[in-house]
Symmetry: none
Subunit: 151 residues, 2 copies
Amino acid sequence: MGTSDLIASFILDIMEDAGGTAELSRQNLAERFSCVPSQINYVISTRFSPEHGYIVESRRGGGGFIRITRVQASPQRLIMHTVNSVGASLDLRTAAAFVSNMLGSDAFDLKTAKLIMTAISDRALSPISPEHRDIVRASIFKQLLVSTLAE
Amino acid sequence: MGTSDLIASFILDIMEDAGGTAELSRQNLAERFSCVPSQINYVISTRFSPEHGYIVESRRGGGGFIRITRVQASPQRLIMHTVNSVGASLDLRTAAAFVSNMLGSDAFDLKTAKLIMTAISDRALSPISPEHRDIVRASIFKQLLVSTLAE
DNA sequence: ATATCAAAGGTCAGTAATAGTCAAAGTGTA
DNA sequence: TACACTTTGACTATTACTGACCTTTGATAT
């Protein structure tokens, strides 16, 4: 098993013990596993992505940290399934269909649905060129969906 | 938690007890937390800015003081005022200050605040080049705020 | 009044402590 | 051999802390 897998399972262990959340120091982790700090970022982006059901937050500077939170996915399979159906790009019509579907299944409430639709609307994304808009839309959409699962 | 966070929560405590206003001595505070006096200014400018919803007054010389007051505004007014003070560009720190202010004034609930922060986070906007990110952030932010008013 | 002094607080640029990005180089496996 | 996955490190960005130097205010002496 490679270093990245070791780091990932170490993080998983911490998360387990702490009840769903792991607060890490990138520098410490890198030292513990004798790797460069950026490998921690690699592990996080390949194994703790929204598609995997995790929310990642961080802060730089003195006292900085990386916090990884596992999202409660069991009762909300539809949302995670949607996150995984969305690739690198997402057009507005498809997004609307997803939201409508999830709303109909009571995966979230109307207010949340409206906020999500507003955040990925053409108006909100108007500073972005139309060709690029669907890429950004996909990213915001996935982050928002996973975020609704956090408690 | 770093010294700056400790100082900030100490100030918040005082403000709480005193019903919305805290009158401090910079020198005293610095001694209490074993830091240089200028760190107090750092804490105030990073955590008690007008964007955060505070007014800061001070006086030098003998009997000098720093007074921090929480400003009160009706939720709707605060949201509209915020929308109007955001120009074509908005950095994440300033946005976070605004959100924290509106949250503290009960302009919206925690869940909404988190959705907004997620929608404009660097992670959600990662497909956009950093130079362009603040432009898009401003647009999404304003649309979301206006959208919370439509109920 | 005026000059002077002591006691606050203010500014700003520099240093330290963290984390993030990206592309090149390495590794293993179908 | 291709190809995907992993590892590395140079460069960048952000946040916290420090200290030298500056400004304002009130009191006191002349």
